[in-house]
Symmetry: C2
Subunit: 225 residues, 2 copies
């Protein structure tokens, strides 16, 4: 395989992982919309799409591993392919979170609607922005944007803790609505995990572009560089 | 680097990931013991060990990537190194689950003890067996044992669902104890996620040994082979 051909293959890999990303993003959007509208048909669409996301993950993984095996790439190309393998696993898990949310929403729809002390759509908007920015940082190889994504994670953690505190308080004062509150709690926690995956993707982008390992707070030292 | 030297390096990589596994297993054991004994000192040990697990993950990852870059291994060696990279990430997340459990236990200790309708130690025993078997299947390259691990996952999911049903029922009848019930629910969910990581590890072992991709139920077709 020529060098030009190899770079075409890398480009192909990038397009495949972006198609996979589009599916994961759509799943999250549908599940959050299903929550806001209490719409079982949207939940069902998320459940129906899970198989396609899982197949896409497997195909991207095989393609990436074949490239590693046949091309034995070095340095930045090796790191790029490893980053794709990791991002791919994170996107598949984002799809899983969307399925979890859709299942919770289906359960909520079967219960009386109640005024819960939690703003899921506000949390979802921030999480979606993190995912979008993480993917954009990957497309553009933009480590500044990736670092910005890392900074968003604490805010989502705080929102999740706040949701936990107010919903558990609510359950004690309104035990008859505990089931709905538990479902909302689960939705919030799944959104928080989606934000974790966006963070992982941003870390993988920085690893790819800089060869730096920014996990577990080591990224702080990059902030001023 | 000679071929012999390369196999020494692979052996070294295996020892490093097993040391990492030992740390993750210990963290889970301590957190579960902390739950059973309501012991804040054990929780604190889990929190104190998190940094060491994160450092070990980074070191294993760097070592594996250096091996890939310098040796450009093919076929089974390539798959082994990729499996180690994935198993490494799962073990670090097992450490995270242990930290989550320890934090919940610390919270529970601050609340009055209550008789909760959930058997966390029984669930923990099964989850620990899955992790142990997954790691043993890795050490011995035993795909039969790895397949056995995959079969355990449904049982843990069922236990988690049962915990959810009985604890949410309990919260409605005993709203004054809702906070403790929520903590126990969170412990059960974190154990279920540890079982997911054991499943991932078993899948990676099968991928390494057989070159087969058994994710997302594709493993069923291997069961009779």
């Amino acid at each position: 395989m020529t060098r030009i051909r190899f770079h075409q293959e890398l480009d192909d890999l990038k397009h495949r992982i972006l198609a996979m990303a589009g599916m994961a993003e759509q799943a999250i959007d549908l599940s959050v919309q299903a929550y806001a509208q209490r719409d079982p048909a949207l939940c069902q669409r998320v459940l129906n799409n899970e198989g396609a996301i899982n197949r896409a993950e497997r195909e991207v993984d095989e393609f990436a591993i074949d490239l590693l095996a046949m091309q034995q790439p070095m340095a930045v190309d090796l790191r790029f392919i490893l980053a794709v393998i990791k991002i791919n696993a994170d996107l598949e898990r984002v799809g899983d979170q969307a399925v979890n949310i859709a299942q919770r929403v289906l359960n909520m729809i079967g219960l009386p609607a109640s005024e819960l002390p939690v703003d899921i759509p506000a949390m979802a908007t921030k999480v979606r922005a993190m995912v979008r920015d993480a993917l954009r940082s990957f497309i553009e190889g933009d480590t500044e944007l990736a670092k910005h994504v890392l900074e968003g994670d604490d805010e989502i953690d705080a929102m999740n803790h706040e949701a936990f505190a107010s919903l558990s308080q609510y359950m004690q004062s309104e035990p008859g609505n505990a089931a709905q509150a538990l479902d909302a709690l689960s939705v919030a926690r799944n959104l928080e995990r989606v934000a974790d995956h966006a963070t992982n993707i941003a870390e993988d982008v920085i690893f790819w572009v800089r060869g730096a390992d920014v996990r577990h707070g080591a990224g702080q030292s990059l902030a001023g560089s």
